[in-house]
């Protein structure tokens, strides 16, 4: 007889499953009924054949009576699938985590501190990016405010000439309002003291674009731009409050601006800052436009508000077409320029600033990752120490998920705590950053606070951090094998695996830190370079100011400055007094130059130079001596031969072989009507900063201030002891000559020189902070791993020492293990770091991005501190008594 056996379990399970019994009951029923059917089949099959027997028994299973049987078995509710994830079990996990964390305050403090630092730095960085690059202008529907400019890579100038602007205003249909402005300054007279203030010249649409209304009176109407209209002015709230004592009937009264009466038509609300923070006065552009052709008129920054139904690409397309048409009529007919329409901030902020700030965000996220790696290691250590506990929990029915979740809940608690502490840290950091930035205006709309989106970002990164730092330990805990753990008294097997993971984490930590330290190293070297710069002229004991004359009368202007030079030189104690077009260092002019007798076929053949028109006092005030020929002297006046003194860098460029003295040069590119200047002397190359901090020793040309035709404004510098080289004595001299002329931009020469370097200083310092934090975190992380690994190997090390290994052998052995990680980490970090340094070029100054010194120093610092982190636990291991070690399990 063939022993036909059927597995009835599947048939019965299919019948029983819909009843959804408790799994235990279900299994019992299936087993019992299956046995029954199997036995019955064995009896039945020989009599009626297997096919018939099976059919009959299967038919029995279909009977409705079985449902009654199953109903009787529903004694217990079937557990719901989400039992592991119910609120109560989660609460239990949290309670458990709190209790177990409380037992190890060391872990909590170390983990929270590390994460809080990381989260705090990230929050500071993101609030800067948010306030500067994301949030946009502080006006309603700011995302609709567009910047219109010319894309012109050849020229630095991206402004739109007034004549072009007018054409766009008439012909465009995509912007609901359009305005243009240029920044300047103006003397406000009347009241207590004359004052030089930031004033903006605007077209009538400019204030309309912001959507902000005047609190008193009105803003500009188109006819205010008419050259024939009586001049009008809109005051800032501060001007109205401070100069006019919040006079509510101010509209219609006069204010004297640059010596002329302007009718005040309105006052803007408190806090309204456009297009700069310190604007005190808005004045209409009143240029005669009838005869202007495209390309002519003052250059404007153009803003517009997008019409509601229009998107940027539409506006962009329209302006591309319009600028093509405008380009055809342009004078002088230079290359055509394409108009770009972009959201204001996107268009206004140069791409490299975006790159720098996002690099910094990446940098702090790296620091945060280092912190996460530390916490991951801490939790791994805990997981290993709790291997048996986890084994028992698993044996008692805890699912892998439940075990893993425990670790995630712990890291989540740490991250939540760290988010709180980190947010407080971030508040301090932001306050610090804002206080540093008070002295430097970067962008007028910058508003750096813990805005709600920043807080949301903090929550997101905290969640991310808890996941990153909790996931590895969680997976590790879940992977542990119950049998191995419960049998394994020494944990050797399980901790070995975890050890490998810990060491990998440390490699990553060291790599990330070396990236950070490289950037910090380059920033440090840049800052040091800036401090070390020898400008080629004296800056100590030199005090500077600027003065602008309201009068347009050139004879009176000249007389004023002549008197000013006399009085300043005569100040008791003054060792030099200078008047000139600007200050050396930051105040050079830019011009293209031509050397007499050389061919200049194309505009780009004219080479650029930095220029300064100086009085003879320049050489004494700034301690500059001529190398060759003579200085500019009192004889170089309007009536005498125009002269120039050039720098050595200029000579190197233009007269590499010959003697420059006696040659003639002319300022200005093609079509220049400037005078030919005879070179009479050569000075050492002087320092010339610029916003880019590139090419700081350019070709330079000094001309004679007294040979200038127009002397409306000038820089002043006085060298001497603090009693004369200060704002008050200079102001006294100036107002003594003309009561309506204020001095402004007063500063020591040292500050003037430092000012353009602030981005390198401020942001470089931030990179140094990031680097230091990550170095500390990485060293602490490495220390923890080494200490842990040594503590796990106490028994092994004890045996080695009992068998005759010396303390030195043990230290060497432990360090060798650490050294491998350090070397791999640093190598990986250097590869990545070299790329990041190139991205952070804005804070790198005067250092080649592959400077071997920086790499060497960073390697030494990181390697050294990492080695110390290894040696301390290794030394501790050598002090272990072999007898004690052998007894430890």
């Amino acid at each position: 007889m063939p022993n036909d056996r059927f597995d009835w379990h599947a048939d019965i399970r299919a019948r029983v499953a819909p009843a959804r019994l408790h799994p235990q009951d279900e299994a019992d029923v299936i087993e019992e009924v299956a046995q029954h059917l199997e036995a019955q089949f064995a009896d039945l099959a020989p009599k009626i054949g297997t096919g018939a027997a099976r059919a009959r028994l299967l038919a029995q299973l279909q009977g409705p009576e079985l449902d009654d049987a199953l109903a009787r078995r529903r004694r217990r509710a079937r557990p719901t699938r989400s039992r592991t994830w119910s609120v109560t079990s989660f609460a239990r996990d949290v309670r458990y985590a709190v209790r177990s964390l409380r037992r190890s305050p060391g872990t909590v403090i170390a983990g929270t501190a590390a994460l809080a630092l990381g989260i705090g730095l990230t929050a500071v960085m993101y609030s800067i990016i948010y306030g500067m690059l994301v949030k946009g202008l502080p006006f309603e529907r700011a995302d609709r405010i567009a910047l219109v400019y010319y894309a012109d890579p050849a020229h630095e100038d991206d402004q739109i000439p007034l004549a072009d602007f007018l054409r766009y205003t008439q012909q465009q249909h995509t912007l609901s309002s359009l305005g243009g402005y240029f920044l300047g300054s103006a003397n406000i007279a009347g009241g207590e003291q004359p004052e030089r203030v930031t004033a903006v010249r605007v077209t009538s649409g400019t204030l309309e674009v912001t959507g902000v209304r005047a609190i008193l009176g009105r803003t500009f109407a188109p006819n205010d731009n008419d050259p024939a209209a009586p001049p009008t002015a809109v005051l800032s709230y501060a001007t109205w409050r401070d100069r006019f004592h919040s006079d509510s009937s101010i509209a219609g009264k006069d204010v004297r601006v640059d010596g002329k009466p302007y009718t005040i038509i309105g006052v803007m609300p408190d806090g309204f800052e456009f297009p700069r923070t310190s604007v005190r006065l808005w004045l209409p552009i009143q240029t005669a436009t009838d005869t202007l052709r495209p390309g002519q008129g003052p250059g404007l920054t153009v803003v517009g508000r997008l019409r509601d139904d229009i998107e940027y690409d539409r506006a962009q397309a329209e302006f591309a077409v319009l600028s093509h048409q405008v380009g055809k009529d342009r004078v002088p007919d230079t290359a055509e320029r394409r108009a770009i329409v972009q959201p204001f901030v996107r268009g206004f902020v140069p791409g490299r600033v975006y790159a720098t700030f996002y690099t910094m965000l990446i940098a702090v996220i790296l620091v945060l990752l280092v912190a996460c790696a530390n916490v991951a290691n801490l939790l791994l250590d805990r997981a290993v120490a709790r291997t048996r506990e986890i084994g028992i929990r698993t044996a008692l029915g805890a699912t892998r998920l439940a075990v893993a979740r425990q670790s995630l809940v712990e890291s989540g608690l740490l991250a939540a705590l760290a988010a709180l502490v980190g947010t407080l840290t971030a508040r301090l950091g932001i306050a610090l950053f804002n206080s540093v930035m008070l002295d430097h205006e970067l962008y007028f709309w910058m508003d750096i606070r813990l805005h709600p989106p920043v807080l949301a970002f903090v929550v997101a990164i905290a969640a991310g951090a808890s996941l990153v730092s909790g996931l590895l330990p969680a997976l590790q805990s879940a992977r542990l094998d119950v049998n191995t753990i419960l049998k394994d008294e020494s944990h050797a097997a399980s901790s070995l695996r975890v050890g490998r993971l810990s060491r990998t984490i440390v490699v990553v930590e060291i790599a990330l830190s070396s990236v950070m330290l490289l950037v910090a190293g380059f920033a440090t070297k840049s800052i040091a370079n800036l401090r070390r710069v020898e400008p080629g002229f004296a800056s100590a004991e030199v005090y500077t100011a600027r003065v602008s004359l309201a009068s347009r009368d050139t004879v009176r202007q000249r007389r004023f400055f002549e008197a000013l030079e006399r009085e300043l030189t005569a100040m008791p104690g003054a060792r030099g007094a200078y008047i000139g077009s600007g200050l050396p260092g930051a105040g050079w002019g830019i011009a293209r130059i031509a050397v007499e007798g050389r061919p200049y076929a194309r505009p780009q053949d004219y080479s650029p130079a930095r220029t300064l028109a100086v009085t003879p006092g320049f050489f004494s005030a700034f301690g500059v001596s001529v190398r060759q020929g003579r200085a500019i002297n009192a004889g170089d006046v309007l009536e005498s031969t125009p002269v120039a003194v050039v720098s050595e860098s200029f000579v190197l460029r233009q007269f590499p072989t010959g003697d420059p003295i006696g040659h003639r040069i002319r300022l200005g590119g093609p079509g220049s009507e400037g005078q030919w200047l005879t070179i009479v002397g050569v000075v050492p190359t002087l320092y010339a900063t610029n916003f880019d901090m590139r090419n700081l020793w350019p070709p330079e040309v000094l001309t004679a201030f007294w040979q200038e035709r127009n002397l409306s404004s000038a820089s002043i510098a006085v060298r001497g002891p603090a009693e004369v080289a200060a704002a008050a004595p200079i102001r006294k001299v100036v107002t003594g000559l003309d009561a309506e002329t204020p001095i402004y931009a007063t500063a020591t020469m040292t500050d003037v020189l430092a000012e353009p370097t602030w981005p390198v200083q401020v942001f470089g310092t931030m990179f140094v902070i990031f680097g230091t934090v990550s170095l500390v975190l990485a060293a602490v992380g490495l220390y923890a791993v080494m200490a842990f690994s040594v503590s796990r190997r106490v028994r092994e090390l004890g045996i080695r020492m009992a068998l005759g290994a010396s303390g030195g052998d043990v230290v060497r052995m432990v360090c060798r293990q650490g050294a491998k990680q350090i070397v791999i980490g640093i190598a990986l970090g250097f590869v990545a770091g070299a790329a990041v340094v190139r991205m952070a070029r804005a804070v790198v100054f005067g250092v080649a991005p592959n400077d071997p010194v920086v790499f060497a120093v960073v390697g030494a610092v990181l390697g050294g501190s990492a080695l110390v982190a290894c040696i301390i636990p290794a030394m501790r291991a050598t002090r272990v008594d072999p007898l004690v070690a052998l007894r430890t399990d």
Binding site: E32, V33, Q35, L37, A39, Q40, G63, L66, A69
Partner: protein, 110 residues
């Protein structure tokens, strides 16, 4: 032929009786009932287990998995004290019922 109602009413009585002496598993019960009734009373899984489970639910019988060496474990049912009480009561009423039927119908035991 026995009607379904009669069978249902008597089935619990039969099972209790069979379990009185010793504990048995489900298929054993089915076979005993069938053989002792000479095939008049038949059960199958669909009719037997609802009964067993209902009786267990009432507390008359208890099923337990019993493992014997070399065999698969089987679920054996035994009568509880409550089951015994119920069996006695059913026996009494059955006797009364049979006596009454006999008196009325004139059937006599041989």
């Amino acid at each position: 032929m026995l009607t379904d109602e009669l069978k249902k009413g008597s089935a619990e009585f039969l099972i209790l009786s069979l379990l009185e002496a010793e504990s048995r598993h489900g298929y054993e019960l089915q076979k005993l009932i069938e053989s002792r009734s000479d095939g008049v009373l038949t059960f199958n899984v669909a009719s037997l287990y609802p009964l067993l489970y209902r009786m267990e639910e009432r507390g008359w019988i208890v099923g337990r998995w019993v493992e014997k060496s070399g065999e698969r474990r089987k679920r054996f049912y035994r009568v509880t004290p409550a089951g015994r009480t119920a069996l006695e009561a059913q026996r009494e009423s059955w006797k009364e019922f049979v006596t009454a039927i006999n008196r009325v119908s004139g059937v006599r035991y041989a």
